[in-house]
């Protein structure tokens, strides 16, 4: 009997639950003091809703440094006079820049390091500069890779070097801190401050840039140059927001002029956005628009006047050119009078727009042999394929029988024969000090003065380089990794303030076979323009 009762109850109970839901209505009115409900009544919908651009959403959550994103390689617009050198993620250097003529200067990006803001700031301030650590909140804000971070400016004695300074732009996600750090003698830091800030702002991830430039053959990571019209100023670009280059009329903060190198949707969609959505006006036929020049291509010019996003008396000039679905546009908005007054300058700007030469794109290399990451370090991504020889700082004619080595952090890295390797790289220090390092790899004592003086020369990067030839047991790599009877051939010289060398090593017989190829390879080595 009790089973029957149980079944009955079990059947009835869901029914009882279903009866519970009533019809929706507002509850009773309740009066609360306005101070208890601080309310902003008149914010724009955009502010109120924290609207995002459709394009930036593709990258997952907006504000995330750690995790997946940290694994992609980082790039930035290398400022003039700076150069990008290969990264070394094993040392938390996910992208590195140097300054021409200032060998001491060092600028690098750490995409994600643990320890949180507090511990990192303690390291920078107290450990490296022996100074009190300020509150992060008191530091000025700075743009760093599309986010708002803080800027630490420290002057003093850096690791024993008096009169040094550091600029560190950083942003944290919980425990993970991303930082762009620039250390150099104070004068160098002061002189390069603006460039540093521009670099910080332009930082982006290799993967992200590639994704957002989807289909835009013209966009890529290109930097755009132009003849800046008189009375205009350039502002930092924000490619993540379709703003590949930004200008405005100086002293007219309401004006905004920017280049979108490639936006999808084709001409009709874009015209509809500009005319209908932004100005609430009917879309004209594209054929009715004037023809102008944009980046060396014929383009149409849209001229719209009216109420722009709620602002009456505004105007927009938009020069656009389409290539299939992709539309490139240069858009200039501002108060009608200002826009009218700058129409000619805008057209000149559009006509003079040129893509600059591609900036070097440091790809994140894999972990170096024999250097696993510390366990606290987040996982690092693989190389995004071997960088083509032309994108590095050097180029050379590659002899027959050499195979490019994929994913190497080194430059022009090739393999040959059975275990032979050859690559170009750069080091700090002196030629002689470097020779001792290589000698030590074969367990040889430091070079003597007489030996050093007697070393032959080879043609290398357009000048004479010291040529070192050694034979012995190679133990340079990890413990246990050794090549018995190895040959080592190095051409080394100081180029542009840095020890630059080309190193070949492998089984002695094979190195001897490839010596001629090595010499001709060195002779053909040149800097990329």
């Amino acid at each position: 009997m009790n089973q029957r009762a149980l079944t009955l109850l079990l059947v009835l109970s869901p029914l009882a639950a279903a009866c519970g839901s009533g019809t929706a209505a507002f509850g009773p009115a309740k009066e609360v003091p306005a101070t208890k409900r601080p309310t902003i009544w008149d914010a724009s919908a955009r502010t109120r809703l924290m609207a995002q651009d459709a394009r930036s959403m593709g990258q997952g959550g907006a504000n995330q440094v750690g995790g997946e994103q940290a694994k992609a390689g980082w790039t930035g617009d290398t400022p003039s006079g700076w150069r990008s050198v290969p990264a070394n993620p094993a040392r938390f250097r996910d992208a590195i820049w140097q300054i021409e003529g200032a060998a001491d200067a060092d600028c690098y990006l750490t995409a994600a390091v643990g320890g949180g803001t507090r511990q990192n700031m303690a390291r920078w301030y107290s450990q490296q500069f022996d100074q009190a650590v300020p509150e992060a909140d008191t530091l000025p804000e700075v743009a760093l890779g599309g986010r708002t971070g803080r800027l630490a400016e420290i002057r003093g004695t850096f690791l024993g070097k008096a009169g040094w300074a550091a600029l560190i732009a950083f942003v944290a996600d919980g425990d993970q801190v991303m930082s762009l750090k620039f250390t150099a003698p104070e004068a160098v830091v002061v002189a390069n401050r603006e460039k540093f800030l521009a670099l910080a702002k332009s930082l982006r991830q290799g993967g992200a840039a590639a994704a957002s430039g989807a289909g835009g053959a013209d966009s890529g990571n290109r930097v755009w140059t132009t003849n800046l019209p008189a009375g205009w100023e350039a502002l930092p670009a924000n490619p993540a927001r379709f703003r590949d280059a930004v200008w405005r009329v100086a002293n007219e903060p309401d004006t905004d002029c920017y280049l979108s190198a490639a936006v999808g949707g084709g001409v009709p969609m874009n015209l509809s956005r500009w005319y209908e959505q932004q100005f609430g006006q009917p879309v004209p036929s594209p054929e009715s628009l004037a023809v102008v020049e944009l980046a060396g291509r014929p383009a149409r010019l849209a001229e719209i006047k009216g109420t722009f996003q709620g602002k009456p008396g505004w105007a927009a000039l938009i020069a656009y050119a389409a290539k299939g679905e992709q539309v490139m546009s240069l858009k200039f908005t501002g108060p009608e009078a200002v826009v009218d007054g700058n129409r000619e300058k805008f057209l000149a700007l559009a006509a003079s727009l040129r893509p600059a030469t591609a900036s070097p794109d440091p790809k994140a290399p894999p972990i170096e042999r024999g250097q696993p990451l510390p366990s606290s370090h987040p996982d690092i991504g693989t190389a995004h394929g071997a960088a083509p020889a032309a994108t590095g700082p050097f180029a050379a004619t590659v002899p027959a029988g050499w195979t490019p080595k994929a994913g190497s952090p080194r430059l022009l890295h090739h393999t040959f024969g059975n275990g032979g390797e050859v690559y170009v790289n750069q080091l700090g220090g002196t030629v002689r000090g470097s020779l001792d390092i290589w000698r030590a790899e074969l367990a040889l004592p430091p070079i003597t003065d007489a030996e050093f003086a007697a070393l032959p020369k080879a043609d290398f990067l357009g000048s004479d380089a010291t040529l070192l030839e050694l034979r012995g047991t190679h133990q340079g790599g990890a413990p246990g990794k050794k090549i018995e009877d190895a040959g080592l051939l190095v051409a080394v010289r100081v180029d542009d303030g840095t020890v630059t060398f080309c190193k070949m090593f492998g089984p002695a017989a094979e190195v001897a076979d490839h010596k001629a190829a090595f010499v001709s390879f060195c002779a053909s080595l040149r800097r990329n323009p």
Binding site: M1, S13, P14, I40, A54, G266
Partner: protein, 436 residues
Amino acid sequence: MSTSSAVATATPRSVAALVVDGLGSMRLTVWLLVLLALLTWLGTLAQIDSSTYDVQREYFESWFVLAKLPLSVWGNAIGDTPEGSGFPLRFPLPGAYPVMGLLFVNLVVGGMLRLRWSGRNAGVLITHVGMLLLLLAGFVKLETGYSGMLGLYERGGAGGDRVHESSTFVSFHDYELALLTDKGDTIVERVVPAVDLQAAHGSGSVTLAPEGLPFKVQVHHWIDHSQVVTKGAETPATPVVGGLYLDQRSWRPGEQPKKESEIAGCYVSVFGDGGERFDAILWGYPRAPENRSNYVAAFTIKGQRYALDLRRTTYDLPFAVRLDKFEKKDHPGTMSPRDFRSHVTVTEQGQSTEAQIFMNNPLRRAGFVLYQASWGQQPMGGPPYYTVLEVANNPSDAWPEYACYIIALGLLWHFGAKLLRFLNSSTRTSLLRHDA
């Protein structure tokens, strides 16, 4: 006719008596306990794939559940894996509501009323009283208790619009739609909980007619996990209002979908009696404690300003809490917290008192309990930190503790007496007879 009367006479006891018999039966107890154990076990395993919050709703705060049977051999799941391989193995079970409800009735009828009230049963009776109190505490908490969170920045530590002091707290999960009427120094508030707006999902809509006001509010295109997007070249499935639209937000790859982290959004259309119309998107992103102020979608009808706001269900405290200092200490050389505590000042009707809230040391006041739940950093990281206090109002807050004492006493009495009887019994002697 004759057969039915024969049955009636053959069972002189009424159906009611049978039901009471059944409800009080100890066999029912056993089956209910087995059912609850099964539910608990499956509800535990379900948490491997879903969040605890979701499982709670599905298995333990429900009338009915389609339980997932996670077949696994040597720890390797077979069947319904997250990768979607295999096949879903599900079978129906009653949820914890009917099981625990019946258990309660069974306990009252069988364990209290029909149990012989004798000295021998005293321990059992006491234990059953404790159990009843425990179940009752759970029921009272479920029906009348509510809780939420209160985030506060250190006073003087961070500027801007940050919240340093507050007398309101918001729910962790639940949303409500609030209609505000601007009366200058005061705001007249009418709210409707989000659970009543279920019909506004998808293509449905819910129309609300606030009493005494000259308009109707239509809620539509409700999205549980949403974000607001600027309209670009794409064609959204939802309406575009002012160049913006509400879009389904997706979880990042590898991220476990969590109901508790969802940010609800919806569209509202206001239809004035005089033909006025106002459209807006509402988005329930919680801004506190970074921002004290709430952004609302305002509209004016007949000269009176109103606003609609989609927000976490908001509760008021009879006192204000201010964070004076937040302390966090780590174990040296690590990031593992050793201690974090909030130094607060509580102000009620002009009277201020200071208190410390830290782990295992909540603040109890006026029926509310404030616990140290969590803490957070500046948006860009680093101090000053903010503290997150969990605020709970639970009339049955202390009942489980009393229940615990009662049950401990009852069990001690019962089993102790049993053991003593056994030690002196002939049963023991007979069991030991070979060792004599």
